[in-house]
């Protein structure tokens, strides 16, 4: 245990400059988000394009996964719980596992894989091609123009995708339940609504928003950290993916813990 703590401490000490830099970057992005509305009209089109790419174009994949996950939970739930005669807990499983946890995690993983990598690669290449310098030469802050609008775009897309994931997974759950025994959709929804609470939906939304922020932030940060060579771009992209996933998992545990304390 002491060894682990020592190692962690050492790592933090060695990366202290990087951590400080990341925090100041986060702060800049946050202040950029709050002043987004009053500054630019062109940033809005970047946001829309980002939402279109990250959200709308990923909807098919998210939908497919949501049906599969909702269905699998119900299938496994029924197989496992029926052995104890507790099939009704399958709804609880759908609520606690899918709505509270998997919807945001799965959406985040898809968004990391699609958008996180593309943002990091795009920004990395922009650095290599001097496009960031070009923006600076105009007096446009790359953080405001590139990072803030992409962050808002990813956050909005994550929020939207998580809602669709929840809805579609419930449909998937119902569809797979009908394979076991016929149940009216109304009854299924009724049972489901009896189990789900507003805070479950809210925690799912909060998680998706926070995860979206993390993905955009880490991807942009790593993209902008590319110094000069194109060979750095894939390395930075891998780093962005790994760091995003790690941070998402840790923050997920934290939010779940806070949720358990609050409700």
């Amino acid at each position: 245990m002491n060894h682990i703590l020592e190692m962690t401490g050492k790592k933090i000490y060695l990366n202290w400059t990087g951590i400080k830099e990341f925090f100041s970057f986060t702060f800049e992005v946050l202040s950029g988000i709050f002043s987004f509305g009053k500054r630019t009209q062109i940033g809005f089109s970047v946001v829309v394009k980002q939402v279109f790419f990250t959200g709308y174009q990923a909807l098919g994949l998210i939908g497919f996964l949501a049906i599969a996950v909702g269905g699998l939970i119900i299938l496994q739930g029924n197989l496992l719980l029926a052995a104890f005669g507790q099939s009704r807990w399958a709804y609880m499983l759908l609520v606690s596992v899918v709505i509270r946890e998997l919807s945001s995690i799965f959406t985040a993983l898809i968004v990391v894989a699609r958008s996180g990598t593309s943002i990091c690669t795009e920004l990395g290449n922009m650095v290599v091609n001097n496009e960031i310098d070009l923006l600076k030469s105009y007096g446009i802050s790359p953080i405001d123009y590139l990072v803030v609008s992409r962050t808002i775009g990813v956050v909005v897309a994550m929020f939207t995708l998580a809602i669709f994931f929840n809805i579609i997974s419930v449909f998937g759950g119902w569809f797979f339940t009908t394979l076991f025994y016929p149940i009216y959709f109304g009854d299924f929804i009724n049972n489901f609504v009896n189990e789900v609470m507003i805070q479950d939906i809210l925690v799912s939304v909060v998680k998706s928003v926070v995860f979206g922020f993390i993905i955009a932030l880490i991807s942009c940060y790593n993209g902008l950290k590319v110094a000069r060579a194109t060979t750095e771009v894939p390395q930075r992209t891998i780093k962005a993916v790994v760091n995003s996933i790690m941070l998402i998992v840790m923050v997920n545990i934290l939010i779940t813990y806070i949720y358990s304390l609050l409700f």
């Binding site: 829309v48 394009k49 939402v51 909005v156 929020f159 809602i163 939906i201």
Partner: protein, 353 residues
């Protein structure tokens, strides 16, 4: 703005707008279903424990949800002080001398708090006041003074039928008199009664099944109600098993007769063998139906499944015994050791052989 960009704007707008609408609809729907924003009246009760309770536990009156649990805490006696609220439309039900009773399925699972209404002409109980639970002396006192009444429901009628069944078996509990014919006659009679009971049970179960589909969750509530009666049923069931054991031992005594006896009592096979065969066939049918029912019920509620499983075991023993008798005069291999599918060997309360 070019056409391509317009398309992107339109689709993105629709995408986000639809999600926000869905989210709003969902939140409002849940809020309405769970009456998040409607006026609620708070009361509390003291329970022995909070096993099976959580914040989604509903307070039910005659099967209807009239409120929900809000929070728990320990009081000075380390009992569980449970705060709950009653929806405004059911406020009138909460009169003085009302009580709360908690039912938990014996094998764990989620509990229900049943509201037992006090006298119809009673005054309204004040908000934030104690509604005693049957876990506590105050509540039991109310019950003793007949201020509140416990429930009667479909399960009670089921139990009544089972009771009759047991009674019939009891009537046959006179093998000391040694009359083979009488015994067999009674056995046939019992079998018929049993069949009748099974048919009744079947239709009840069918009703339950329908109820589960249409009135959503009625079976769950029934299950919980049933929990109270499980103990009672166990006693009856052990009686049933006892009877069958007696019957078995009789048949064991009878299992080694010589041919002469058979020829003496039933030379043509018309009196014993044929009715016995018929009895066996119908019994087999009943067991098959019970099996199917059990498979469905097992998914829904463990308690009913156990009951059914026990009934099944008993019936399967009975079947074996009858088969034994059927085979016995010529001893064609004796009792078959066939396992019935889903006959619930795991749940068999005691060995009848």
């Amino acid at each position: 703005m070019d056409r391509q960009l317009k398309k992107v704007y339109r689709r993105t707008g629709l995408f986000v707008f639809a999600a926000i609408l869905i989210m709003l609809f969902l939140v409002l729907f849940i809020a309405q279903e769970q009456r998040t924003f409607s006026r609620k009246f708070s009361f509390y009760t003291v329970l022995e424990d909070a096993i099976g309770l959580d914040k989604t536990t509903s307070i039910r009156f005659k099967g209807t949800e009239i409120g929900r649990v809000r929070s728990f805490s320990f009081d000075e006696q380390r009992n569980v002080e449970t705060h709950f609220h009653i929806y405004s439309e059911y406020r009138d039900l909460v009169v003085e001398h009302s009580a709360i009773t908690k039912s938990v399925p014996p094998l764990g699972g989620r509990a229900t708090l049943d509201f037992l209404m006090g006298p119809l002409d009673g005054d309204l109980a004040g908000e934030h006041t104690l509604i005693p639970s049957l876990d506590m002396p105050e509540g039991r006192d109310l019950l003793a003074r007949r201020k509140v009444r416990t429930r009667g429901d479909q399960v009670s009628s089921l139990m009544a039928n089972l009771g009759k069944f047991v009674e019939n078996l009891n009537r046959d509990d006179n093998y000391d008199q040694g009359s083979v014919f009488r015994m067999l006659y009674h056995l046939a009679f019992v079998t018929e009664n049993l069949n009748h009971t099974l048919v009744n049970m079947n239709s009840i179960m069918e009703d339950l099944q329908k109820d589960n589909n249409e009135a959503h969750g009625a079976l769950f509530r029934l299950t919980v109600n049933l929990a109270d009666l499980t103990e009672e049923f166990r006693v009856s069931n052990s009686l049933l098993a006892q009877n069958l054991m007696n019957l078995n031992s009789l048949i064991v005594n009878y299992s080694q007769p010589d041919d002469i006896l058979t020829r003496m009592v039933d030379p043509s096979g018309e009196n014993i063998m044929k009715p016995l065969n018929e009895g066996l066939t119908s019994l087999a049918e009943s067991i098959k139906e019970i099996n199917e029912m059990t498979r469905f019920l097992h998914n829904q509620s463990p308690e009913i499944a156990i009951l059914m499983s026990e009934t099944q075991s008993t019936l399967s023993e009975l079947q074996k015994t009858l088969q034994g008798i059927n085979n016995n005069p010529l001893i064609r291999g004796g009792i078959k050791r066939e396992e019935l599918p889903g006959a619930g060997e795991r749940f068999r309360p005691m060995e009848a052989e």
